[in-house]
């Protein structure tokens, strides 16, 4: 029998991420696919690719934890845990001294605070709207005829920044047009958009002590976001090796930490 594998699968609203750990908790496989409309298929595809990389097969999986927006859709997962706990767990593994985690996902932004002992003491999620999320950036970029990558590239060129105040995606679009009319540079406007996200994060960060790390797909792909966060929060923001996979990594770690007796029964790993 091959050595057991532990799987974390993060079914997000935009992307589905998978991480496979071996019995020494070394990361041996990972993959990301677009979630699309079929979460079940996306999860299966991400798992198969990750297992291929890990040189394993499904029956080698000793325990699997699903997380993310579509966590309950993964019928073959042994348990599910929220992305909040998983991002915290993943980030803490990379940076044991981290105290604040900023996860900017497709449809929500979360700020998680850990105690000195690494215990989750507080977390906040954005209110119901796209403000301060990946969707906000993507749709505003789209209005400008740009991809998210191009928006990021532009913002990185910026020497100053335009101010975009609005929390609302629609109004932010109008503001962008106003800034263009005022003759502001496009790169500065792009940076203004990233800073508006950073301002939302600043509001959600109740206590500003200790090291901060950013996780999630937007952090992974947009250097401008890290720059904006660092400027607005006036502190360094760490970017882990696989920011987009932080949730899946945390889920895989939780899977590996679940003891054997619980592996057969638990649906919520947090039931322990």
């Amino acid at each position: 029998m091959s050595a057991p594998l532990f799987v974390g699968i993060d079914v997000g609203s935009s992307a589905t991420k998978c991480v496979v750990l071996n019995d020494t908790r070394a990361l041996v496989g990972h993959h990301v696919v677009t979630s699309g409309f079929d979460y079940v298929e996306a999860a299966e595809t991400a798992l198969q690719h990750s297992l291929l990389q890990a040189e394993g097969v499904k029956k080698d999986v000793a325990y699997c934890v699903s997380t993310g927006y579509g966590r309950e859709r993964v019928a073959w997962a042994d348990g599910h845990v929220t992305e909040i706990t998983c991002h915290a767990r993943g980030a803490k593994e990379w940076y044991p001294e981290v105290r604040g985690i900023i996860d900017i996902g497709g449809q929500d932004t979360k700020v998680i605070r850990l105690s000195e002992e690494g215990r989750m003491v507080d977390y906040r999620m954005n209110a119901k709207c796209a403000a301060g999320t990946g969707t906000f950036l993507e749709s505003t970029a789209h209005k400008l005829g740009l991809s998210l990558g191009e928006l990021d590239g532009l913002a990185m060129e910026s020497k100053a920044h335009a101010v975009v105040n609005s929390y609302c995606t629609v109004f932010a679009g109008t503001e962008v047009i106003e800034r263009i009319k005022e003759g502001q540079r496009l790169d500065d406007i792009a940076m203004g958009l990233f800073r508006s996200i950073a301002s939302r994060v600043a509001e959600m960060l109740a206590v500003r002590d200790g090291a901060l790390a950013a996780t999630g797909g937007v952090a992974a792909h947009c250097g401008a976001l890290i720059r904006a966060l660092e400027e607005v929060l006036e502190t360094q923001v760490w970017l882990p090796p696989m920011p987009q996979h932080a949730g899946a990594y945390g889920a895989a770690l939780l899977a590996a930490e679940t003891n054997v007796a619980e592996r057969s029964s638990a649906r919520h790993v947090a039931d322990r």
Binding site: T85, Y123, M125, A127, H268, A270
Partner: protein, 414 residues
């Protein structure tokens, strides 16, 4: 652990509650069609005892608002009220109720086979809860040509002093005078004393019902509370409410003796601060069952647990109790109350509901959640939502928030 643990048990009294509600609304409907009877509308923590003592049948529109929310029709009706100038972010009880009137639909029609809310002859308010009620009543006052009367006590009160009570008592006397003048009747103080005694008795029983959730496991949940509180609002001042709560209390006390919990295999105990999310009450109750977590206590259900009446001046009792209610108090008093509740009910964490259209019954807007976290050293979560308007609510986001909160409680316990 008792043999009954692990099994979900229904509250038997619920059947009687259904009958009581039907009798209540059918009778109200009959009163509205009977020229010898008079219907008054009143706010839920308003001076209803005066109205009952003066021979009015009392209807509580906030209950209608809650019903519209629970039936998940508010979001279809609110636009009608917004269309005639009521703010989309104003009290969604008010906007959905006005919307339902404009649309000519009411859940009372289907539930009890009656025409709908009874037409008022007078509308009475107490702004101890909010100013919105005054303007809400104003809509119907204009529509029906009925007088709108009420009292405006001091708000955001710290310690309730003799001056406060005497001022509010004066307001109540003035209100009585206006009703007497308008309807040509006299208030009989002995009758008022009788009604107040009944009201206070129902309220005291209600408090004891809520207190059964102090037991471990809790005999009832907040989600049971929001259903079973109907008589203490709609029928207070009547023998019916007392009889109902005596039966309910006996049933719940039996649960306590036998160690039967409302949530099987209870793991965690949560406090709910703020309004219920009526359209999602059932879904949320299920979520907490799944998480083996009991919402053991709430500010909301406690709003009708008044101090007992000592048989003295009924107007003074009304003045005191209506001024003392939680919603009418300052931040410090509220914080003290909340910390005591967390302690008394053995709470593991508190959830604050930020009801977007009711700032009055929302206590997370001035740093209270953070202060409670610091003082009680317990995890505190703030969720966004609304009492009725689902446009302010995201199911996926809220459920994730709640699940993560329970994960956090588990982590605290480790």
């Amino acid at each position: 652990m008792s043999t009954a643990a692990g099994k979900r048990v229904k509250i038997k009294a619920q059947k009687r509650l259904g009958e009581l509600m039907r009798e209540h609304f059918v009778d109200l409907d009959a009163a509205a069609g009977d020229p010898s009877r008079k219907v008054a509308w009143c706010t839920s923590v308003g001076p209803c005892e005066i109205l009952t003592a003066m021979g009015f049948e009392v209807y509580f529109p906030e209950n209608h608002g809650a019903l519209l929310g629970a039936r998940r029709v508010s979001h279809e009706l609110i636009p009608r009220a917004v269309g005639i100038g009521y703010g989309a972010e104003s009290c969604s009880y008010m906007t959905s109720d006005i919307g339902s009137t404009l649309a000519g639909v009411s859940p009372l029609q289907e539930a009890f086979g009656i025409a709908g809310p009874p037409t008022p002859e007078v509308l009475v308010y107490n702004t101890n809860q909010c100013r919105e009620v005054q303007d809400w009543w104003g809509f119907y006052g204009r529509r029906d040509g009925a007088p709108v009367m009420g009292i405006c006590p001091p708000t955001h009160v710290g310690e309730v002093t003799a001056e406060h009570v005497s001022f509010v008592r004066g307001e109540l006397e003035r209100l009585v005078g206006s009703i007497e003048e308008r309807f040509g009747t006299k208030l009989d103080l002995d009758r008022l004393r009788e009604v107040v005694a009944l009201s206070s008795q129902a309220s005291a029983l209600w408090r004891r019902v809520l207190d059964t959730a102090r037991a471990h496991p809790a005999a009832m949940t907040f989600f049971d509370g929001v259903i079973h509180m109907a008589p203490v609002i709609l029928m207070r001042g009547s023998h019916k409410a007392i009889e109902y709560y005596e039966a309910l209390l006996a049933e719940l006390n039996e649960r306590v003796t036998e160690g039967v919990g409302a949530v099987p295999d209870e793991r965690f105990r949560i406090y709910w601060e703020g309004m219920p999310i009526w359209p999602k009450v059932r879904e949320l109750a299920e979520k907490f069952y799944d998480l083996r977590t009991v919402v053991a206590a709430s500010t909301y259900c406690n709003s009708w647990a008044f101090e007992e009446f000592d048989g003295g001046d009924p107007l003074e009792w009304m003045a005191r109790t209506s001024t003392e209610i939680f919603i009418n108090r300052d931040e410090e008093t509220k914080q003290k109350f909340l910390v005591e509740m967390l302690d008394g009910f053995g709470i593991d964490g508190a959830i604050f509901h930020n009801a977007r259209t009711c700032p009055n019954n929302t206590n997370s807007r001035f740093g209270m959640a953070q202060r409670i976290r610091e003082e009680s050293k317990l995890p505190v979560l703030v969720i966004d939502g609304d009492l009725s308007d689902l446009r302010f609510f995201s199911t996926a986001q809220t459920m994730t928030n709640i699940e993560a909160f329970v994960e956090q409680l588990a982590e605290y316990r480790r």
